[in-house]
Amino acid sequence: MFKQKTTEQIKAATRKTDSGSHAFYNNPKYRAVIYQTLLIAGLAYFFYTIISNTLGNLEAAGIKSGFGFLDNAAGYDVLMSLISFDSTDTYLRVFVVGFLNTILVSIMGIILATILGFIFGVMYFSRNWLIKKVSVVYVETFRNIPLLLQILFWYSAVLATLPGVRDSLSLGEAIFLNVRGLFIPQLVGQAGSTLVYIAIAVAIVAIFVMRSWAKKRQDATGEQFPVFYASLGLFFGLPLLATLITGIPFTVDYPVLQGFGFRGGITVIPELMALTIALSVYTGAFIAEAVRAGIQAVPHGQTEAARSIGLREGKIMSLIIVPQAMRVIVPLLNSEYQSLVKNSTLAAAIAYPDLFNVFVGTALNQTGQAIETIFMAIIVYFALNMFISFVMNRFNNNVELVGR
């Protein structure tokens, strides 16, 4: 009784204060707005001072500033570019070239690291002693050797010792591997090839549709559908059919030895190979650890329950354990992916023309505009990491929901 009364009293008192005739700055709502405005103004002033100070100092020291240099011709060439580039193109284009090369190595690294990480992470739980040990050795070795050393190892100790151009290792005289890189034939689409591309797109959509149909059917009737084989069939069957119908609208551009090296086909430079291998093997070791942690976080009872209803070991992993483990794994993956992107800047050690190398390295040096180039690079890496976070958070929401 007594207690209840007190609560009532307090409530009444509070109500009174709220509606009281106090000054507006005591109102929490207004107060928040005021503080935030002040903070923003303060920050704006802070940055304004820094920037104007910097500009003033640069001018006093006789150093050119501003982003005008981006329109000037770069005057140097770049080893590898996903878009056309030559030395008469601008610094802005150098920036794009470097950016695309960074994206390329990051995407390849992320895909390979994830595959390696999951394979070795799951291998840890094998009942086979050897397989388990292989997983442990992989993780302990590659996680504990500095990445830079690993990059240099793959580049200088492995790829640089491949045979020279004239003694290339070759596979059916179509694929060549030598100290200059990997040379593979390229499919060149002719008239009619669009139909094949459409077929690929249709196949991918069809696979998704089929999967959700199969799941619904299984939920309703308990009947299983061989989704995996059907997907394979669709993915390869449809485009193949389209190719045959259109009379094989492709020609193959083979790499041929000419002059100083191979021409034609696709060239994968050793710098790209070394960086991709090193980044994925290194990051893969961390991901394997994340996968291991994730799986260990799933209570053992889940495995026992699954066994008791007669599921095979492989199915237990893929249907019961891994989906639950994903809740632990995904947030860890997020930070591993971000590290991978940032680590790709070590490219400069082996001449891979990523953003850091061609822009923050060479462009900075040729123009002397350190602040501008570094600023632009910071923005790019920041944006890339925000993007990864965004995607992984969405993915995280998915696994969370699916689990409950």
Partner: protein, 337 residues
């Protein structure tokens, strides 16, 4: 190895620290040691031996400045820098002078806030190829891969040359000269391109120097010299005239061996140079015997050249353009009076 973080930090610190630069001379005197930017290792120009002693033509410029300013050529702290790092290091005040086979170009002189204090070595971009290739001229290099050091004027020179001759190449650009050389050795590139003097230096570092040849073509002008920050004219003068003292020393026949004697008993010109007469030292804000110390401790230009890159060295480079103007070269010190 690669100092990415220091590069970034240097770049960012740059804008904030530039304002507060006192006279470099006072800083150096107070510190008692000259901070000099050199290469990470290039025979004949700036190279560290097993005992940690630096030597080379570029190193001698550092030593000359230290001798002139501090009276002791050994009071130098060497900062090895890659091509990419060098300008930021100078701009941000990490070093007092940059003496690292750096080409004097218009852009660098006018937009980096730097000043070139003269030319130590007149050079030009050249090519080194493996003998096996049987290439006689750079024009035959169509479609070849080039090992180049990143952030150099070589990158620009080579691009112009191939464009002008309508031939193609692929640049493989490394951070340090060691990496560039290994790239060439492993066969990653067909040729290595750099200032010609450096090609000779890199060649003696190859496992099989006889297997590589330096092509006769020189495709650009690369005058290499010491660099200082813009806006400190006194320091600029000191570096400029320390170098000139070495050149003038050769011209007057003053050597490390006879300098002390010439200061007392030499011709009027010797005495002016060596500080027994006139006020040249005072005008620079240095001791009267500044140039005497330079020549006594470091030697005149000819001594330094022959010891580091000429007949007394492994490189065996002839004087060529780098002979005195009297001897058919273009080396010339303004009048020492």
């Amino acid at each position: 190895m690669i100092k990415i973080s220091s590069l970034v930090a240097g770049g960012l610190a740059l804008g904030l620290t530039l304002g507060a630069q006192a006279a470099t001379l006072d800083d150096v005197k107070k510190r008692g040691v000259l901070s000099c930017g050199v290469s990470t290792g290039l025979a004949g120009f700036s190279q560290k031996d097993e005992k940690g002693n630096w030597s080379g033509l570029d190193v001698d410029v550092c030593r000359a400045v230290a001798a002139a300013v501090l009276g002791d050529a050994s009071k130098v702290q060497y900062k090895p820098l890659t091509a990419k790092e060098r300008f930021t290091a100078l701009q941000s005040g990490e070093i007092d002078v940059l003496s690292r086979n750096t080409t004097w170009t218009h852009t660098r002189d006018t937009s980096l806030g730097l000043n070139f204090a003269g030319t130590v070595y007149y050079d030009g971009t050249g090519f080194m190829v493996s003998k096996k290739l049987g290439v006689k001229s750079a024009k035959e290099l169509d479609g070849a891969n080039a090992c180049i050091q990143a952030g150099t004027s070589t990158e620009l020179a080579i691009s112009d040359y191939f464009r002008e001759n309508n031939i193609k190449y692929k640049p493989v650009t490394f951070d340090t000269s060691d990496q560039t050389r290994s790239g060439f050795e492993s066969g990653r590139c067909d040729f290595l391109t750099s200032d010609q003097s450096q090609l000779y230096a890199l060649r003696i570092g190859l496992k099989n120097p006889a297997g590589a040849i330096v092509l006769p073509e020189v495709i650009s002008k690369e005058p290499l010299g010491p660099v200082v920050r813009q806006g400190d004219d006194q320091w600029f003068n000191i570096v400029k005239w320390s170098l000139n003292a070495m050149i003038e020393g050769e011209e007057q026949g003053v050597t490390s061996a006879n300098a002390a004697d010439k200061a007392k008993n030499g011709k009027p010109g010797n005495k002016r140079l060596l500080g027994t007469e006139g006020e040249l030292g005072k005008n620079l804000g240095l001791n009267a015997d500044w140039a005497l110390q330079v020549i006594k401790q470091v030697g005149n230009y000819s001594e330094s050249f022959e010891r580091n890159v000429g007949s007394g060295s492994q490189l065996k480079i002839s004087r060529g353009l780098n002979a005195l103007w009297k001897d058919g070269g273009i080396l010339y010190s303004p009048a020492m009076r």
